[in-house]
Amino acid sequence: MNSTTNIRGNLKSELAKNVSLFSMLVPGFILAFLFSYLPMFGIVIAFKKYQIGKSIWEMPWTGLKNFEFLFTSSNTPIFIRNTILYNLVFIFVGLVLNVGLAIMLSEIREKIISKTYQTIILMPHFLSYVIISYIVLAFLNVEHGYINTHIMPLFGKEAVNWYANPKPWPFILILVHFWKSIGYNSIVYLAAIAGIDTELYEAAEIDGANKWQKITNITIPSLKTLMIIMTILAVGKIFSADFGLFYQTTMDSGALYPTTLVINTYTYNMLGQGGATGIGLASAASFFQSVMGFILVLTTNYIVNKIDSESAMF
């Protein structure tokens, strides 16, 4: 069967039918084109010796020299480890928390109460990380921070210089991340739950199912596809980290790098302070990031295709 002509024919009639719907895609396409496709060419900088004020063509090639530095730097294993571990926690703990929260909210019968909860939980999402970093500082300031002045004495402990002590930061950052993102990320699941056919629940009720059984046998299976898609999307981004979280919240304190340096902050540091050499290195790091991300998206999609081809993206 000739599938291409088939698609073309279908596409035309589809387009004609849903002009208004397709036109809504246009801004998204333009943005993706401008900010995701157009800059792709810039990756050649990773293989060049960057020179300020020259066009990309005029800069000499250096082969893999930038990558050589990247992979011999003692920081590289640290930021790779941090980026991946943080993201794994964010993805899998996040999945449980987001779905859990969505189910809890949907189980609240009283509309007003459920909306109030949702709004309160969603609120931090609208704060910029710059502001959040100062909220965190209010807690962690050595001298006047709430933790050092109120919490530590409760346990009879000495005040801690939080910004010089990398050990507790994984917990702090994970806490801050979920506090900020959980409300927003659960909206998707909440919407999906609202879309589940109520007849299923009614039938289950007639069969004598209790609340827990309804959740495990109806809600969660109905959310399965969405959960898989959301996870694939997240795994594809496992090699990029939320810059604001890692840069602002830590106040870019060098002492914390062992547990807080991630690929994005590393790249930014190289860009801002390394002069022309730094740009080459930053480009190499972000090229590496893109390639890994690309491989990860393809792999996860391949795996999903094997398990459940309906849920795969392409």
């Binding site: 792709m40 300020i52 730097s73 210089n161 002492a255 801002g272 302070q273 002069g275 022309a276 050499t277």
Partner: protein
């Protein structure tokens, strides 16, 4: 399936379009202007974008308006003063330069937006050939050695500020408290000798939260004089002589001792434990929370810093006065400037024209300051505009008015201070790190950023950190850098 195939097609088309577009986007920039006729007011107006670092000023646009009126008949330029907070300056400018963004003039020096690095990278316009044309009047004002220090391999990429050309370290302290306890601060030659005094003040003066204050470059370590060609590498000076070896700063006896002092002060509560996240020591001093801090001094430094603030302050120098190079404060024309000639003409005026200079430093007369007499002005507190505290960052400070609180003899004292200074033991030695060691330089800088600050500030236990710090420096290749510096240092010594 349909949607997936469609998606694939769209992605391919997108990628191809992007490639084509980005190729066409890479064509050459527009042709540069060749030059301007001197002594003539150009016909075409030009906006000069100038970047400096300072706390932000409310009335910048008002001042710009006046400056523009003034410049119209001189060089037909308008000035845009872009003020960046000091904490952002390095990264913002670094990113702008790297991206090749157009601007005209920027503040640069050895300690912020590193002059040598960016000049070598080609970020700055080469001024060498214009010193007897566009910059002629300004150049004539310079001390020859001072100007020479700004040359890199015989080329000049920025103009140093005309100010004191010497430096001495010493204490800035609360005059009233020192008098109350009958302290002669000149007697305390280092942090250890000062320690008993600090303890006494902490005990007896409840309003002083922390007797001493410091930032990364004002700790016990920085009281030592040295020449540092690259991060964490230095030639130390002792009793007016330079040590023979180029040293790894962190391995040196000096760092070990200083870090121990810092740590002790930190644990004893003599210094704010919050030093890592809050660095505004002048703010704390003027709020009366601290008693003393170490500072690079020149005559009138304390008064300049706290002008208009109601705090009794005094200063005293405790180290030898060394001549400094011009690298402490300079202004460079960007290589991305669309009209570097007009920018140079502006710089030339800035160094030679007191009206322009005072307008930029003090703002508009009657609004931001009032005149007392010919050379002195009264600047009220909290005006909408005053760059008086950072006037040493540009132009010619000898052209500027003096504030009411300042010694009327300040300019004379500055000149005497300059004359009293002796050259450093390595006077004209400039070690340049060759490009083949770029990677090591970068790696060492990164390690420094991770460890140095909390070590010198006393926020971590040196016993626990210093060994790891050293081993990471070695892994980053600091020994190769030291070897190269030593080679150049030996060559220089042989020539003496």
């Amino acid at each position: 399936m349909k949607l997936k195939a469609l998606l694939k097609n769209v992605m391919c088309v997108g990628a191809v379009c992007a490639l084509v577009l980005s190729f066409t986007g890479c064509k050459n920039k527009e042709a540069m202007i060749k030059g301007e006729e001197l002594g003539k007011v150009p016909v075409e107006p030009y906006e000069i974008n100038w970047y400096i670092q300072s706390p932000s000023q409310k009335d910048v646009s008002l001042v710009e308006e006046k400056v523009n009126e003034y410049l119209k008949d001189k060089i037909n330029a308008t000035l845009k003063i872009n003020i960046l907070e000091s904490s952002q300056y390095e990264k913002k400018m670094g990113t702008m330069i790297a991206a090749g963004e157009a601007f005209d003039i920027a503040f640069t020096c050895s300690w912020l937006l590193n002059y040598a690095t960016y000049a070598n990278d080609g970020a700055f316009f080469d001024l060498t050939d214009y010193t007897d044309t566009y910059l002629k009047d300004a150049i004539q004002l310079f001390d020859e050695d001072y100007l020479k220090s700004a040359y890199i391999d015989g080329r000049l990429y920025a103009l140093p500020t005309l100010k004191e050309i010497a430096s001495q370290k010493g204490w800035v302290y609360r005059k009233d408290i020192a008098e109350k306890y009958n302290l002669n601060m000149a007697d305390y030659k280092n942090f250890e000798e000062l320690e008993p005094v600090l303890k006494m003040i902490k005990e007896k003066e409840p309003s002083i939260q922390y007797p001493i204050d410091w930032t990364e470059d004002r700790t016990a370590f920085n009281l030592n004089d040295f020449y540092s060609p690259v991060a964490d590498v230095a030639i130390f000076f002792e009793n007016g002589k330079a040590r023979d070896k180029v040293e790894n700063i962190i391995e040196s006896d000096i760092m070990k001792k200083s870090a121990a002092i810092s740590r002790r002060f930190y644990l004893e509560g003599l210094v704010n434990p919050d030093v890592l996240t809050s660095t505004n020591i002048t703010q704390r001093f003027q709020e009366g929370k601290t008693f003393v801090y170490m500072e690079n001094l020149k005559p009138g430094k304390a008064e300049e810093t706290y002008r208009g603030k109601n705090i009794p302050v005094a200063q005293v120098g405790i180290t030898p006065i060394y001549k400094t190079d011009g690298l402490g404060s300079m202004n460079a024309v960007s290589s991305t400037s669309k009209n570097p000639y007009r920018a140079m003409r502006f710089l030339n005026l800035l160094y030679t024209d007191p009206v322009l200079s005072n307008l930029i430093v003090y703002g508009v007369e009657g609004v931001h300051y009032t005149k007392i007499d010919e050379n002195r002005v009264d600047v009220p507190e909290n005006t909408g505009y005053s760059l008086a505290n950072i006037q040493w960052m540009f132009g010619n400070v000898f052209n500027n008015y003096l504030a009411k609180s300042e010694d009327p003899e300040k300019h004379k004292l500055l000149k005497e201070f300059n004359e009293a200074a002796m050259p450093t033991p390595v006077r004209d030695l400039t070690i340049t790190i060759p490009q083949s060691l770029d990677v090591q330089k970068m790696a060492v800088t990164t390690v420094k950023k991770q460890y140095r600050k909390q070590l010198v500030l006393g926020a971590v236990d040196p016993e626990q950190v210093i060994d790891q710090y050293i081993s990471e420096l070695k892994a980053a290749g600091i020994d190769e850098l030291i070897a190269e510096c030593q080679r150049q240092y030996d060559e220089w010594k042989a020539k003496q």
